[in-house]
Symmetry: C2
Subunit: 668 residues, 2 copies
Amino acid sequence: MGELTLEPPFTNQRVVVSGVSPEIEGGRHPAKCVVGEVVAIEADVFCDSHDALAAVIQHRDLGEEDWFEVRMEPVVNDRWRGAIRPEQLGLVEFRVVGWVDRFGTWRRDLAKKHAADVVEAVDFLVGAELAAEFAKTAAGDDRRLIEGARETLVDADLTATTRVDVALDGDFAEAMFRADPRRFATEHERTLRIRVDRERARFSTWYELFPRSAVGDGETHGTFRDVIDRLPYVAGLGFDVLYFPPIHPIGEVNRKGPNNATTAEEGDLGSPWAIGSKDGGHKDVHPALGTIEDFRDLRDAAAEHGLELAMDIAFQAAPDHPYVDAHPNWFRQLPDGTIRYAENPPKKYQDIYPFDFETEDAEGLWVELKSVFDHWIDEGIRIFRVDNPHTKSFPFWEWCISEVTREHPDVIFLAEAFTRPKVMKELAKRGFTQSYTYFSWRQQKWEIEQYYTELNQTDVADYFRSNAWPNTPDILTEQLQYGGRSMYLQRLILAATLSANYGMYGPAFELMWSEARPGAEEYLDNEKYQLRAWDLDAEHSLAELIRIVNAARHEHPALQQDRTLRFHHIENEQLLVYSKTDPARDDVILCVVNLDPNWTQSGWTWLDMKALGLPADASFQVHDLIGDARYLWSGRRNYVELDPHVTPGHIFVVRNLSRTERDFDYYL
Amino acid sequence: MGELTLEPPFTNQRVVVSGVSPEIEGGRHPAKCVVGEVVAIEADVFCDSHDALAAVIQHRDLGEEDWFEVRMEPVVNDRWRGAIRPEQLGLVEFRVVGWVDRFGTWRRDLAKKHAADVVEAVDFLVGAELAAEFAKTAAGDDRRLIEGARETLVDADLTATTRVDVALDGDFAEAMFRADPRRFATEHERTLRIRVDRERARFSTWYELFPRSAVGDGETHGTFRDVIDRLPYVAGLGFDVLYFPPIHPIGEVNRKGPNNATTAEEGDLGSPWAIGSKDGGHKDVHPALGTIEDFRDLRDAAAEHGLELAMDIAFQAAPDHPYVDAHPNWFRQLPDGTIRYAENPPKKYQDIYPFDFETEDAEGLWVELKSVFDHWIDEGIRIFRVDNPHTKSFPFWEWCISEVTREHPDVIFLAEAFTRPKVMKELAKRGFTQSYTYFSWRQQKWEIEQYYTELNQTDVADYFRSNAWPNTPDILTEQLQYGGRSMYLQRLILAATLSANYGMYGPAFELMWSEARPGAEEYLDNEKYQLRAWDLDAEHSLAELIRIVNAARHEHPALQQDRTLRFHHIENEQLLVYSKTDPARDDVILCVVNLDPNWTQSGWTWLDMKALGLPADASFQVHDLIGDARYLWSGRRNYVELDPHVTPGHIFVVRNLSRTERDFDYYL
């Protein structure tokens, strides 16, 4: 670029189209939505001077020839908005086009002159000139209408009133808009993309269990068939995704013992994440769990219970994984001929070899790893929870997810990355459908509000879908270790209502298993390394409350998305108030949660009435879906009191009692 | 784009470089700086896993072959930063490159293992392998050093301590960094540009006067020679730019009378902005002002007084402008054969024809308009105040300014656009060096803080340089109409200290001419349409205070830039507190302004001590450059009281009284 040159030089293209949203890194990555979701598209559209403008969104499914058009409308401050509603899985592309609305300018100015009574003969002739020009590009009916209007405009024998009436006629304006040759139109320089996922990408309810503990006596190794017996229980709690840690053969070399002991005793089961042995690798099932036929039976039985299976894909190998012999160059070979273990210096993890994404055989490695997804897709699996994706290269994920979803656009990838914020966001940008979050460690009011505002009210919402987990086999926060039953309930309500996607690791959660390895944020006698006994019928089980919360989610579309999450003010730092709304289905949920697990807290709300679609002084009923109580509230200020030992939270349905329809501030 | 494909496929390029700043619309427009300014460049640089990374800025003057490199350092949260300091006018281009620092990773991990006493023999061999590889690309001295270190690392006869010492040696690390072949480096996909202007682009002090009123008796038509007599006065006030409304022949057809009357009487002078008559157009001077030789004498005399002339370029034509006959197709021709006047329906401006930027002869029009700048550049003018640029097309400005500054990189363009925010910003993006602002209408504390924070603390600061005017011939705000002397002083202090570029329309300002046309925000008997009498020696003149304020600006580099502007808290809504800082020259200015023109206001400051470069409990002297008083202050809380009838503001120099050097939070 020796010097700055402009293309095309001497252009008459006066309209600027910029700041299009959603646009992720200048269109480098697609935004995300689900089938049937209304996606608002905005752009700055303006030009010099004071001409009226027009703008449209042009969109099509990727690979189609023809563009569809949606008109945009000005909102405020040169911002324009329109919306599309993708109906097909896959990728949609769109672009924004703006132009000087010459007829609209003339019509607007004529109306002003008419109001001031200063219309001159030449004004009609200018309009007639436009009509003559536009008639050439008009379709049949429009052409006839336009030509008729033109004849009126040029007819000096007619009264000014007659000619003004025609000039300002709405049908004429519509016909002229359609016929506009769009002279010097500006097409935004980038065609952008939106990935259209299925509904479950946005709304899903996950239950994680270890199949090998499915018997529940702590002694008998469970099988896929034992899991089938558990299905009615899990489905009964209201879950729709059943997720297993890896089900593959477990490495025998350098196997870990209970509580992560570096040497295993005879009979120790090892960690399911140390994948691969003489019995096979990522495309095989652990013989102790059953056969692939057993797995297929489980998959089908789960489907009958409304449960979709999710598999854990952990791309790493035990030292005895078949890959190690077959492809030693996929791992990092050291100068002494050994292979590098996973390490976090000075710590070393001798039961695992990481793949080397700087291998010379990148193609061989990538193609093989992708074939792991393909293998399980062939087995009917469409949801994958990916273990530690942030230790594999971003370009690999971008390629792999793009290729898989091109062939199977209904596949969902959940990124299990608990790492630095930009790395987590990058994984979502590169294609992950859903992402684990910092939810587990966001416990104070200010940090929950700040984090969820960032996730849902900034451009992060265009590509990052949160999936909130109060616990996982790796995470037992201090809160849950010491908070007791009210803390468990609090975290259940928060996860289930803040994030449309949430999950729990059970039965540890509902049975409130809280014992941690000393000094760690992790379970003692973790199922990762051994079997556990579970008494599902224990009296203290939270099962019934989980069922209630999950039922609220399934019955209320407001809880099935995150875009409308809004926090409301209340004068108590221990009380959190927020709402979610589905304007199309007139559904409004308002949650109040007491973050203090020990003491009753009370306060006066300062509700954002617009977020609830209600006038400032409206009377309305709030109906608690947990305790089933109903209260009559009025306006912004209402009293709330929550004893955490009764319930740490309300999930209120907000019922409008006035005769006017709710008027929402959202664009959905 | 039939389907999404990734290039290059199967890459080992693991490092992400994104979010580079300054980057305006993805590099569509250059950022701005001045010669010698330190420009901070930042980027998100990260990769998967936990490798150490390295990143550099590569930069060069546009047109050069070779790139220079500056190392970047991590700041926080995967954000990296470095800086360049352009020394030449014109365009600089830069890009950010990041890669996995393999040696740095090894060195960091070895240090950790060494600390934990778990170093193994193979660890040294891994380092030696890197040394052998890097030695191949190392320069002579580095190669010798690296080879020596390699020999130590592989020598099993040496003690571990000796080998660790060499492994962690700083010189070895530096040599390895220089020699790094940067395997799989990621170069940010866009090379970005920065326009380097001269210092006056950032710091300038403007005085506007009507040459035809230069005699000052209200009766005699002034000339360029009369303006020469005024130069000592203007220079004495401390201004460095002297700006005239258009000096071209004024149209005689449809000329306006005093106070914008639609018909002129015999002898009425007309508006200087109605350009062109039988005496010539944009490249000619009005005969009543003198000859071009007179103008040249004025220009030279001004230079001797340290004043640079700025011309007003108003691209529009009176009906008798020579362009109209020569190029009727540069104007909008109506169906009745007439040319369209400027209009804002239902109003019409019959003394002006606007150019039609949709003309078929765009090339002819653009080239001619640019030649107007070239003409005056040939006459030694380097500063242009452009009238209403927002009624001419953006692509024209982008081309014109780019072409002019390519040939004359010292030319400054000030955009006189008072219109919608995005239009004003777009003009700056397209190339305008400075921009008029909403300053005149930002009068409350919250709106001043909000507006100036947007201008200086967001990405707007990368391309938009404010030029603040308390008044112009078009703007006499209600504040100035009714606020009296203390309001004039307040607005003077605000303009001169909030914006490094500011100006005033005189002598109207210093003589506090406050009489408005009823119902308008504009002067009665406006000089735009007639001569005015001015008594420069009037006792009430603000000249002396203007001189004091301008002297403060010239003596204090902190006031010569806007990037470090910070607002400080004070518990009084009528008091505004802000600071500006030049860390390199250890210069700190703190302003306190009473926005209430009538009453004494007082309050306790809550200073942001970091912004002042001082410890929280520091003692410091504040020395008022207006009243010359000195106060001893201490810490964040200090009492201020301002009687607007004495002075509405302090411009304090902040002198550090402690023995420690100031430690600034800025990166300049």
